[in-house]
Symmetry: C2
Subunit: 324 residues, 2 copies
Amino acid sequence: MNINDVLALVDKERDAVEKELLANLDSDVKMVNEVASYVFESGGKRLRPVFLILSAMMSGYKGERTATLSGVVEYIHTATLLHDDVIDGAKFRRGKESANRVFGNDIAVLCGDFLYSRAFMNLVKDGDSRIQMLLAVAARTMSEGEVFQLVKTADVKIKFEDYLKIINSKTAVLFSACCETGAILGGVSDERQAAMRDYGTKLGIAFQMADDILDYLGDPEKTGKKPGTDLNEGKITLPVLKLLEASTEAEQKRIREIIVDEKATDENLEYILGLMKKYDVKKRSEAVVDEYISAAKANLKLFPESPYRDALDFLADYMVAREK
Amino acid sequence: MNINDVLALVDKERDAVEKELLANLDSDVKMVNEVASYVFESGGKRLRPVFLILSAMMSGYKGERTATLSGVVEYIHTATLLHDDVIDGAKFRRGKESANRVFGNDIAVLCGDFLYSRAFMNLVKDGDSRIQMLLAVAARTMSEGEVFQLVKTADVKIKFEDYLKIINSKTAVLFSACCETGAILGGVSDERQAAMRDYGTKLGIAFQMADDILDYLGDPEKTGKKPGTDLNEGKITLPVLKLLEASTEAEQKRIREIIVDEKATDENLEYILGLMKKYDVKKRSEAVVDEYISAAKANLKLFPESPYRDALDFLADYMVAREK
């Protein structure tokens, strides 16, 4: 199985999602539709819908609600991206200029709000209070998590648990809600529903961790980003936590000074990357990711064999795949 | 009847709203609760809950849902205030430093998102899909309206209908949703429900118009604001529209130049205020407000007499009251 096999499996459903995303951009304020089209037509992998659809199909559901609910999830996801880009002053998103840069911060904030409310309108129309609550809680947790991340900026005493809480809120919660929504659509047992919730959570955590590893240790030619963006923003992520764990007291002191006072000058970054190499932080971090992926996949065993289950098994690895 | 009689009538219900507002600020991220408490403890008149409660009671409803749903409405309202203050770079709100200034734009945007999602969680819990849709649509319309207002900034060719659309979206839609929610709680006929929707819309429009009049023609000692803030921001509101209607072509040309190119220098503002006096724009504008208030109140005649109906009748006038 490869990624194209997976995508072929849900080809029709993914088309329906694309239609759904544009169908609701029916504002009589032209600018709103313009911004939304700009954002949605810049592609994006629609990862969350793929998980929602596969989870639903593995759970025995086939029908139009996967498109509606995928649309809801993508609207919520996109609203958070719009707001995050305003907060971070981002200049690019998905290889294009970011919406805040093209249309202004004010319009970007308001179009995020538009997408939130559009998402809730469609949730109300769909009419399932369990899914409504699941996604409303996910939206709440995401905004809380972003605040928590800001509060913990450059806090070198941050614990692994705090880091987990941040990446759970900002990434895993929505993946988990997608997978659980699929299970609810399929009307599976509570046990299977909980398994899909857990699959999504662990997968989302691993996915964010893999992203955080790339920020320091990825190949700039492939990521398109200068290493150490997170360091510069005072975001303390898995590689730094693993480095602090492995390094000597003197090194720890120096690392903390850099994070708190000095930020990522080329020299500082070189020092940190040197230490990461010395202690093989890449390997140590990837071991954590692998644990989460294994644990995520274990949940799939509760479901009977099917191409959808195989696809979810494959995707878990694919989401954190790296060059060997 | 005076305002204290009105408030006394819903005293218990208003207390329940205050409790409700703080009860849901249960985030395990301390900063979120801190910001929310800061915002809610700075008072605010809770106008929207008063209308929701009175409408419900006039429609024969008594129960706890007025507190839940008033909480939802205040959360949505407060979320928009947080985001608007970020967009406008506001420094003050309700006589205190604005949240964006105290906590930063990033935190203010995210806490707005938190309140939105908290509002939808409570709507899901309340479980009435008509009210859910009403308030989700209101939230959508509000964000659209703000975008439309930005698009129309300094557009001197703006029509009265566009101005109406802006103030309907940014103010009237939520008042209307409050009044209609009350009617739904009371289980009244479709006709009465529509009447309360219309009462709220017209009242909200009149309320915003009265506010727009004060921006130019209010007594700075009472409003606490320098006249002409809207002129400076390129917001073309009722008094300017009425002035353009009454003035000569040469004057119109000069007014348009000021709005488009020059903004509100003291000299320009003096010129505009002089013209407004010359053509008695205050009277012309207030006549429009009075029309909307009369039309709003006419809707109440569909309901049997009650102290709640009297209160809503009184409040309509009170919302736009001015010194004679």
